[in-house]
């Protein structure tokens, strides 16, 4: 099989920007997107008109976004509002840059789910399982965690370690939505939603936008900040049970194993070399599944792996140092990739991982992806 190795260290992230996160009924997707774009442009010092690639995600109409920003690029891509798209989008943009389809790509993600009262589940999002009352994306993760618990003895107190560590990080992140520390007991006492999952296992719903500017290694040298290189990528889909959204009988283990082989092989590192881990966390169980599939521990061992605050800054694997989707912001993976860049740059203040040089993004979803970032 061919792989992505020819892309190793050829493409860089040179600018990142984000809005505040919260409830913003007075603006819209485009307003938030424009704000994030402006801040990413300032971050890298590039003249706006040099942007000749545009990728939008969860933005209603890519051309209107271009019109608002005064951009007429020669490469455009638009991705739907699925969380799994962030890693996919960055990899697609890297390939387009490497192929010469554009010189500087701006990737813009915007979300107005809070102010427009988006509900996940119920009548607003009819699905084929509604006749049985099975709705809401969290229910599929509850099914998976229940099975993990039965097969491997994983406990909800172990699962709580994920939410507690990410909330700890959010308390260190000035941008984060959630600022109250929580304990394992708080997690256990929270309202059950789709048992065995409770409120604190669910991601936030908030407004906000993120922008990432990417270019080639050569062009990156002329910009304001030290570039952050894409050193490894890995990808594998799991479409076999796509009709049960966000569900895999084996926790995406086989797919994540494959992703791990690709991403570590390309970057020339092993899980033990990862200084900080940015893990897609729409629901807390998927963090356990990612750790197992990538080989941070064996299958069934993630529960004990995360015990004792292992995922906190200062622990054995600092994970989602911005607070993740559970406590920072529901930017569907985009903010996690921004956090990876900021960790490598050393811009993370109280939540900075000392000497972070190998930072990995991963998402275990029906489209599994991982990216390894290193300093340029």
């Amino acid at each position: 099989m061919s792989d992505g190795r020819q892309l190793k260290d050829r493409i860089a992230i040179v600018g990142v920007g984000n809005t505040r996160y919260g409830n913003f009924p007075d603006t819209d997707d485009y307003g938030l997107g424009a704000h994030a774009f402006r801040s990413a442009i300032e971050d890298c010092g590039l003249a706006k008109d040099r942007i000749d690639g545009l990728l939008t995600c969860r933005v209603p109409y890519y051309a209107r976004m271009g019109e608002i920003l005064g951009l007429n690029p020669r490469w455009t891509a638009a991705m739907p509002a699925h969380g799994r798209m962030s890693g996919m989008a960055i990899i697609e943009a890297a390939a387009a840059l490497d192929a010469g389809l554009c010189d500087y790509a701006a990737l813009i993600y915007a979300n107005i789910g809070r102010s427009r009262r988006v509900n996940y589940g119920g009548d607003e999002s009819p699905g084929i399982w509604d006749p049985w009352g099975f709705t809401s994306p969290g229910a599929a993760h509850a099914l998976m965690f229940q099975r993990h618990r039965a097969l491997f003895g994983t406990s909800t107190r172990q699962l709580a370690e994920v939410s507690v560590a990410f909330r700890h990080h959010a308390c260190l992140n000035p941008d984060a939505v959630m600022k109250q520390p929580i304990t394992i007991d708080d997690h256990e006492a929270a309202r059950p939603i789709t048992e065995p999952l409770r409120l604190l296992d669910f991601c936030l719903i908030n407004d906000g936008a993120v922008c990432i500017i990417m270019t080639t290694k050569e062009r990156a040298k002329d910009l304001k900040k030290r570039p952050v290189m894409i050193s490894g990528i890995g990808a594998r889909e799991a479409y076999g049970t796509a009709s049960i959204p966000n569900f895999d009988l084996n926790f995406w283990y086989d797919q994540m194993r494959d992703v791990g082989t690709q991403v570590y092989g390309m970057a020339g590192v092993a899980p033990a070399d990862v200084d900080a881990f940015m893990c897609y966390d729409n629901f807390s169980p998927t963090v356990l599944f990612s750790l197992e599939g990538l080989g941070f521990c064996g299958q069934g061992e993630a529960g004990s792996f995360v015990e004792g605050g292992a995922l906190k800054v200062g622990g054995r694997l600092p994970t989602n140092t911005d607070g993740g989707h559970l406590s920072n912001s529901y930017m569907q993976g985009w903010a996690l990739n921004v956090e990876a860049v900021r960790q490598i740059r050393g811009e993370c203040g109280a939540r900075q991982v000392k000497d972070a040089e190998v930072v990995q993004y991963a998402g275990a979803t029906p489209c599994c992806r991982s990216i390894i970032y290193t300093p340029g």
């Binding site: 509604d130 006749p131 049985w132 009352g133 099975f134 099914l143 099975r147 097969l151 049960i244």
Partner: protein, 137 residues
């Protein structure tokens, strides 16, 4: 509105779903099976995912399966389903996985891997749903 008045959520009726729901209403559930390689399909679709044949036939299912996992909803999402209520994932003997509900008892720690049997539940509004009971009950 209580559950007895609420309408059971209607199935999403794609191009291929009608024969399945007719068979459910007749209390003899059928699914598509590939005439070429005998693979069972669910949900209904246009072609066999294994061999891509479009030669599909509707055949009765055995009604036997095993519980893959379960969940209990504690939040009300749909008017016909006041919490708490359960949903289960069942691996049918024929191969496909479906989502349904366990009747007779709430699932528990022992449920995963248990054999179940298909039953036809008539909802308060008359809609017939394929559900499951633990085998031997």
């Amino acid at each position: 509105m209580n559950a007895t008045e609420a309408k059971t959520p209607r199935p999403v009726m794609g191009l291929y779903d009608k024969p399945m729901w007719e068979s459910i209403n007749a209390k003899a559930m059928r699914l598509q099976r590939c005439r070429t390689c005998r693979t069972w399909l669910y949900p209904p679709g246009p072609a066999c995912p294994r061999c891509l044949s479009c030669e599909l036939e509707w055949a009765p299912v055995s009604g036997r399966g095993r519980v893959v996992s379960w969940v209990v909803f504690h939040r009300q999402y749909l008017p016909a389903y006041p919490p708490p209520y359960n949903a289960i994932s069942v691996r049918l003997e024929e191969g496909p996985c479906m989502i349904s509900n366990l009747e007779g008892a709430m699932p528990d720690e022992e449920s995963i891997g248990r054999a179940v049997r298909l039953v036809y539940a008539t909802m308060p509004d008359g809609m017939v749903l394929p559900r499951f009971v633990l085998d031997g009950t």
